[in-house]
Amino acid sequence: MDPPLTENKENVENGGGEDKKSEKDAKSPAGSRAGSAKSQRSQKSNGSQKGRIPSPIRSAKDNPAADMRNMRRIIAEDPEWSLATVPMLWELCIKHIVGNFEYNSKILDKLLPKHKTKVLEKISTDLPLKVTSNLVEDEGYWKRCCKARWAICDVSAYGNNWKRMYFERNLQDIIEHFVPENTDPEELDSTLPLSANFVKKLDIRQLLPPVKEAPKGFDDDVSDAGSEAGDGPETDHFDFGPVLQKLPLLEEFRVTYGVRDCGMNFDWNLFQFTARDCLLLSKCIAACKTLKVLCLHRSKVDDDRVRVLISHILDHPSLEELDLSHNIIGDRGARAVGKFINNHSQLKILNLCDNQIRAAGAQAIAHALTKNTTLHSLNLRLNRLGDEGGQAVCRSLMKNSTLKEINLSTNDMTEPTAAVLAQVVIQNTTIKSLDLSCNKLGADGGKQLQEGMEENNTITHMDLRFTQCGQESEFIINQILAKSQDRERESKEKNMNEVNSKK
């Protein structure tokens, strides 16, 4: 490239300040298309300038130079030289289409595939969903949308579908920032029908309460605010009824009645799961027949609320996973849950972690377990089963033949439970994973368990940390576990080989 040319160009650019933007626009496609010759690029830029901005002064100035270039345009030794100094008509068209996409989006389907991709590469991510939702299927566009909106994008959590991710998260954001009686429902109403075909999962991590009293509450003392908020049943949250109705593909629904990142604005009122909330939620869940996963955690769900919920979702046709962790469910609530899993559901996974279930609730659940034939996984971590409840649950395990995983960690169980467990371990052949950590089983219990485990070869995972069951037995049990793990792995390999050989 000859230096005078660049100079000239720079000069031109500097000179035509007001045209800079357009010039750049014109340059970028031309530059991308330009093969290798630098001189050519310069020519092109110049040409495009000329084509685009017919400024009389500059054209007069550049005329001799342009002539020169015109003369030099034919460069014999350049194999990739082309006449494309002026952007192609189709490029211009595409540009225009992109510019006016919002007003005339129907044209997209009529374009040739290559032009379509070009358009999709260029249209703005800020286009209203109304335009794009049903029209654009291209993953690339939705990826751009997601990336532009959120910093962290884990598409694997959304079935590797960017579009789904965008719509789900969009809806989540809207709901999470929805303040009842304050926010205009217009946005939600317009978004819902557009998202209906793409949303399968809804993970609501916070729900804002109505802001009536909130400003006052912030001024008061923390404890006072709590006491004040406690008696306010009118602080109902967002009603999911109309939303879930309009989502025919919803399979997973996670919700927390609480506020995230409240910081120093803490108010008990912010974490209130009212009876009306519970009733509305229960009703809409009962109405949503496609739901498979329901997660209602960290929401101060107490016995009464659980009973309401369970009474509504009893005999739900598709629900497979129920997560009620980190709530304050007591024995009555546990009894309700027990009824629910006692062949009134298709539940496979039940999580009651961090609740306040005691012996009575445990007995109810144990009774249900003896009759249940669907449950695979049960989590009762951080409850207060005690020996009595633990024994009940363990005895039920002797009769149950479907449960594969059970978590009984931190349940204040001691030696008598270990004795029963030893029997369970001998008899039961379906359980694979058993978590008993943080239960003071003691050395004797450990020994009993060890004896039981020596007869067993199906359990592959058993957590005995903080059980004080003695190093020796723990070690032996670990050995046995390793053996059964090996066996399982070998059998798996064998199956794989067989399958392969069959193939």
Binding site: T410, C438, R465, F466, D486
Partner: protein, 779 residues
Amino acid sequence: MSSSGEEEEVGPSVDSNDPEERIAARRLRIQRRHELARRAAMGEDPSAKKAVKEEISKSRIQIEQSRQRLTKLLQDGTELVTNIRVAGDMREGARRIEEEEARRQRKDKLEAENKGGTERFEEISKKWESALQKEIPQDLHEMLKQQQQRCNAMIDEKNKLISEFQQELKGKDEQYVKDLKKQAEEIDLMIERMEEQIKNLTKAYREELNQIEKAFVTERTELLELQRKKWDHMMQQRRDKELEYMKAREKRVEDYEQQLQHLRVQDAEEYNSVKIKLETDVQLLEQQIQLMRATFQLNQEKLEYNFQVLKKRDEENTITKSQQKRKITRLQDVMNTLRIKLAKQEKQFRDENSQLTEDYKRITEQFMELQKKSRHFITTDNKKFTDIWIMNEAEAKELVEKVCEQDRTVTEHQLGLRWDQPDLEFMDNVGPILSEQTKRQQVSATQVVQEVMSQTGGVSDQPVADPVDRPYRPEPGEEEEGSEYHHGSMLKDPATKSEQGETVKSTITQKFSAHTIKKILELLCDESGFLVENKLVKLLAPLEQDEQSLMKLDAIFAALGVETEDDIYRLSNFFTKFRQATERAQSGQGSRKQSVEEVERQDGEPEKEGEEGTQTDEMAEDAEVAEELQKVMEDGEEVVTPRSVKSEVTELIHPNDVYKALRVFVEEQWQPTKEKSKQPQFKIANTEDRDDADDAAYWKKYCSILPEKTERMWDALLDGLEMYSDCLQSRAKLITETDGLRQQNAELRMLLHQYVNSKVNAELEIPPTRVLNLEFQQA
């Protein structure tokens, strides 16, 4: 917490020896299983497999080890990470229990306090009642003070409790803050551990991967080494073998060389001896060559001279040859022209011929048609002629009869004379008059035969009484007595025969003597039996001899095509003529013999024909015939001389020559028949000119049946009679006239009577009768 984690970390590390044991055990198990599976699947020998297995297992061991280590690492890592959570759970659990306890204590305390407070309050309230009873102000004051003190004590107590609880709350708050801090720390630790874990794991995985790769590489190198060793070994073997082969080859080469040397020496010796011998031979041969050369030269000169001579001759020959050639060409030209001419001529002639044939065909067709027509017309004319004739004749006869009758009546009745019958003999004739010749002309052959037979029967010397014997006799006569008898019989009518022979030539009607003909016929009948059908012979068997021969002759004639009398005469003529001809031909014995042979040959042929005709059913007859023939032949031989002597006399043909004669006859017969076929048609045409000379006379006879005199008499009679008739007629007329008048009279009378007597008259005023009467009166 960390100590416990270390403990748990140490736990698995204690059995660091164990994994190897486990690995060994597992390896064994795997091997066994694989072997079993393979044996079950393929039934291969396990020993070979084992070796392979061991070789393979190296990398596998490495993989297994790595896997083991990694799983351990993973387990430990997860344990390490989850330990924090578990510890937190543990603490939380403990805290909850503590909290519960504390709550319970607090509750107890509160209840106790409540109880004490209420008691004290009751006490105070009791005091208030007693205080009301007090009337002394000091007492009351004191009392009030006491009450105040008590209340204050109670309040203090309450306040103390409250402050206690507040203290506790503060503690809790601090605890909470601490817990939060601790949790943050733990979370940090957890994150740190996680990161560390990830780092470790990636590192470990990479290491293990490297190791596995290394193991694979080493295994590969080992394998390569092994293969190379094998390869080298094989190569070495090959080299050794090559060397061995080379040595063997060298040895062999040496052997062969020695042998070659030996052979060479031997051959040289041989060669020398042979050479000497050959040289001597050569010398001898050279001498001979010299000799030969000399002779050769001589010969050459001679030959050269000959050659010269021959050359000259050759030249002459060539000259003549060329001359001849020229001539040939010239002649060829002539020939060609002639040929062309010939071809042209031929073509012309052919065309002409075809044209002529076509013309001829057309003409013949026309002619045939014409003939047909003419025949038709002739027959019709004939018929017409006869019909007309007969009609006229009948008419004439009728007229004649009528005339005769009239004449008779006239003469007898009118004249009263005696009437003489005129001559009416010619009237017997019916149809056209025929000449006698034509009547006689066609006499069929059979008739002739019959005639002849019957004639001869009457005329012949033999008595008519035994006609059966007569034809019977000649046969044995022929066979037994030979030609003597035959000649004898023949001698009787030589004169007639010769005469007849001449007469036949002049006029065919002239006959042979019946006897001769009979003889000939008999001969024919006997000799040409083959012409008669077998069936006929069978049928004839019961008949009389004479009739038999008659029928036979009939059949024979039919076969020969003899139809008319004429034919018979010709045949007989032939027989006699043939005889003369043969006799003339038999100038010498040889020729005779030849002829005999010919005859024989000819005999054979007809016989064959006969056989074909009669079929081979009658072998016996054939045999007889053959015997007869032979006999005849022998006879013939004997007879020849006598016959030749009598050659001047016309004789009947010898039976042996019958065939020949017949043959010739038949051949000739066929030609005449053709000619004849034409002749009869013309003949028929000629039948028209029958002589009509008699016709006029015949018809005249009818005219002249009445004589002139009677005619004249008839005329006169006619005149007289006519006059008489006129007179009679006038009389008759008058009679009829009178009759008519009479009748009229009668009728008138009748009418008058009617009018007078009718009723109408009565009714009238004046009846007519009266009128009449008046009239009468007037009158």
